[in-house]
Amino acid sequence: MTKPEERDDPRRGIERELKRGTLELIVLHLLAPGEAYGYEIVSELTAETNGALEVTDGTLYPVLYRLERAGSVDVRWETPERGVPRKYYRITPAGRAELAALTREWTTFSKAMTKLLQKERKVR
């Protein structure tokens, strides 16, 4: 659970806002090569970014639910003989279109930010 001091720290605030804004893009991107289940998405994300983009289950699953309801991902249940059923997520054609649009938007934004921050500013 989020501690109050974490909520109030402005630096954690921007990190949280950035994650919140890009999580759909991140999840769709990770689902692009093929189907996966929730745990795979979390661990892949943590491993590939050395923990910088680590997400909690409480953040990831609502995003998957939202993508499912919006028709961007399809789900498939797999029920093993023993153990609990597992829910696999797969990107749909609508999801791929969404992924392309979000990727374009992110690239434009990120390029603009980099350009802005790299430019040296004279003291006025």
Binding site: M1, T2, Y37, G38, Y39, T56, D57, G58, T59, Y61, P62, V63, Y65, R66, R69, A70, G71, S72, G83, V84, P85, R86, K87, A94, A97, E98, A101
Partner: protein
Amino acid sequence: MKLADDYIRSVTHCLPPAGPMRARIEMELRVIVAEQLERGRDLDDVLRQLGDPLTLAESYLASAPLVTAPLKRRIGAKLADMAFVGIAIVPALVMAGRALQPEMAALVVVAGLIGGAVGFGAGTIGMEYWLGQTPGKRLLGLQVVRESGAAISLGQSIVRQIPILLQMYWIDVLFAFFTPRRQRAFELLSKTRVVMVTPTSDRSAGEAGGTSNA
């Protein structure tokens, strides 16, 4: 599994009681928890990862955009509720009026009307809190939620009905004609809204809130 059950219940209790969402999210969370436990993780850790129940509920709620109930429907629902109460009370009052002396009958009618009004207010408070809707709202596919889409608290349900209990309902209702989300004054105050119960397949709702190819 009591701890897990309690956690899941406190999440689903934040979701609106009307509509299919509670059942869906409950199932979703059961599978998530079971899967993590099977992987050998500690239950405390699993629940910590899922986070604060209200925050989690509100993250799920973000997937279903709220659709403001049109005023016509709301008026229809209110008239239906009044008709239900009328059907219950009026015959009893008419019978009392016939059976009793005129003075006594007048007293009984006045008491009946006051009792009916108080019962109407109290019933609305209880039903909107426990069920998220009154029979009239159910008939017309409406429900009462917080501005985040979560289920309302008992306190909010009471504040919503204060204008009825204080006989200032009509002034309160006028606000709904001018506020963007069609909220009465005491709905603004209690931070609640009346919205459409989202249909079972909410794909169209998802599309409305999401994709743009700009």
